[in-house]
């Protein structure tokens, strides 16, 4: 036990400052991700989201407010029709593109099977590359190739080393 004590401390700290829980709070609610996907596909108005996703109006209203509130979407009146409101992706929202595409690719691989319609590069019309985790020098990395590194102390630990204990 004594040998891995510092590792345990680091893992505890890692869990506390892991950015995932916060990210999940924002986009992990039931409809938020589907609304986001709508936005990525060019949906912009309340009625479009509502009819397109089949979501209840009050829930949609709530989710849009939250997404705007955390700066994933921006909300602005439509200059061409002042009844309308335009919801569009902010930079923070656009930055979720790799997440959305990675999840889509996973769904294709493990749930659906390739769909006919694929994302492609406008420039040459070729389908986009598969999203994967890579090392600094470009090798593809798997779960077993990974470790956690504390950059201040230089402490390194293999995955799974210390979660057998308590925490």
């Amino acid at each position: 036990m004594s040998g891995i004590e510092p590792d345990i401390e680091n893992f505890k700290k890692a869990a506390l400052q892991c950015p995932l829980p916060h990210a999940i709070e924002l986009i992990g609610e039931k409809w938020a991700f589907l609304i986001l996907r709508g936005a990525f596909n060019g949906l912009r108005h309340f009625e479009q989201f509502q009819a397109g996703l089949g979501i209840a109006r009050n829930i949609l209203s709530d989710r849009l407010q939250k997404l705007v509130g955390c700066d994933i979407l921006k909300r602005e009146p439509d200059p061409s029709d002042r009844r309308k409101v335009i919801y569009s992706l902010s930079p923070k929202g656009e930055a979720l593109l790799p997440v959305v595409v990675a999840l889509r690719q996973w769904g294709e691989d493990w749930c659906h099977g390739q769909s006919d319609i694929v994302l492609a590069d406008q420039r040459d019309g070729k389908p986009v590359r598969r999203i994967r985790l890579m090392s600094e020098d470009g090798r593809e990395l798997d779960l077993k190739d990974l470790m956690w590194l504390d950059r201040r102390t230089g402490t390194a630990l293999r995955r799974g080393d210390s979660w057998d204990g308590k925490l």
Copy 2:
């Protein structure tokens, strides 16, 4: 026919094929993703997940069953202690690695700020590459560089075009 009709019909049609909603049903529930992160970090037993995530026992029980049911986790009795059960990632679960890491990186960029502890390559100890969407020939792609391509018909549409009535 006014404004939204063609948009919504086309969106709905594409939505039926889109792998995202199904993927989200599996891992988009509030705790599912955090359980998954626990599994990626080496948590394996019920009590570890419970104490580590602070999740209610009945919810945890339900989520683990669902994750096992859709083959993201596998559940097996611990041979060394027959009270214990080992939950571990199946290949389908491991394949979510890019999604998890991409979301983590997004959280670092837009919510937290870089944390001290980073994922690194075991081989050389260097932090992993940033996950991003790339073209066939390796250029980084942004939302505005993308289009949808129907591989059977060869039909191509710019993002946003589609749902404004063309498809």
